[in-house]
Symmetry: C2
Subunit: 198 residues, 2 copies
DNA sequence: GCACAAAAATGAACGCCGTTCAATATTAAA
DNA sequence: TTTAATATTGAACGGCGTTCATTTTTGTGC
């Protein structure tokens, strides 16, 4: 019955990640406290550190889960897309809607910083790759003479442009804008990019 | 001689902002400590709190200075620009070069967050406006039928797209890219946007 | 079932940080 | 020079992430 210990630890791990996810979504990454996470997960403060090296490791686990849910949402959004214009527009709008509905979790993906001198682990960087992949796939058909590296760089530029528009808007910097108008701006930019690649 | 007190306080304020600016540029916003700022400014720890309400207020003052220097750099970059394509390309490249040379200070402009429930003061939000203004001015000539609000929204979208490409690159997310290639991507996007507005 | 060793969970305690404030030092006025 | 007003100081406070001695739970051999 040495199985029991395994499952209990996994259960605690899941409860900690769930608690962290809820707290980030409710209060933002900046307000996240180890004591609140432990309390909501129903464990003592020290329990958190039997599962995770430190708070940063738990945040990476939360971000991992967010990326997985986002990948599912985007994947489902392009099921019915045919051409590159459809694909870019559908991806962009799905990305925007995910950001709006999971605002603080989405922010946490990009505003979390490791301590000075500590790099984000490679396995976690790799989890972001699907964002580029979704764009690179339709894009490569429109850049037949380009190598995979060039396609990836251009895909990243396209992702970053759309991402930037959404990020600046959700940060409430500069003028406010309604969600409808934001969707319009994002769609316009997505179509503009789709029509002018190669 | 009640003047003396004024100038001493202003001097302390300047030294604190200078120290904060240096420390952010050297170690990033995340590593900023009140004790380090006070030490480098040559004052006791408490001195910081006789000038600034709290650390956030000092960071806003540092960001204010960064915005002023950025405004000067961008302003100088478009002196010789003639058409909208020149203007967008020159602005974008100048923005990129500023971000590269003042990396951590530039990041601090966008990654700083006020405490939960506290808004960024209006006077500081207003200081960001020139970024939109630089784009809106040439843009409005190409959108003669649009109202000022529509021009501002489109200018913000254009700024955000360029900003996004630079931000994602400097965060080292996704694939790495050389500065030369990044300049090429930014210039390509700037020209694409300039040629397809209205 | 029971005793007992091994492992895990606990929460008080530690060190660090932003912030405060009683005590000290400086400045301006008399 | 004296004295009141003001400014500067850094020890102390409360809150945080993290650690670790202690307690509790789990697995094993009888």
């Amino acid at each position: 019955m040495t199985q029991r210990r395994q499952t209990k630890k996994e259960d605690l791990r899941n409860r900690l990640i769930a608690a962290g996810t809820e707290l980030i979504q409710e209060q933002g990454l900046k307000g996240l406290r180890a004591r609140d996470i432990a309390e909501r997960a129903g464990s003592a403060l020290g329990g958190l550190y039997t599962v995770f090296e430190d708070l940063d490791a738990l945040i990476l686990a939360v971000n991992s889960g967010t990326l997985k849910r986002m990948e599912a949402a985007l994947s489902s959004a392009i099921q019915s897309s045919t051409g590159i214009e459809d694909a870019f527009a559908d991806l962009s709008i799905a990305y925007l809607r995910f950001a709006l509905s999971d605002r603080n979790l989405w922010f946490a993906l990009f505003e979390h910083r490791m301590p000075e001198g500590v790099a984000v682990p490679d396995w976690h960087l790799a989890e972001h790759a699907f964002l580029i992949g979704f764009i690179a796939t339709p894009l490569s058909r429109h850049m037949p003479d380009a190598g995979p590296q060039d396609v990836a760089i251009r895909a990243r530029t396209i992702f970053a442009a759309i991402h930037g528009v959404i990020a600046i808007s959700l940060e409430n910097r500069f003028i406010g804008i309604t969600p409808e108008r934001l969707e319009q701006e994002v769609r316009t930019l997505a179509l503009l990019l789709a029509r002018n690649v190669t």
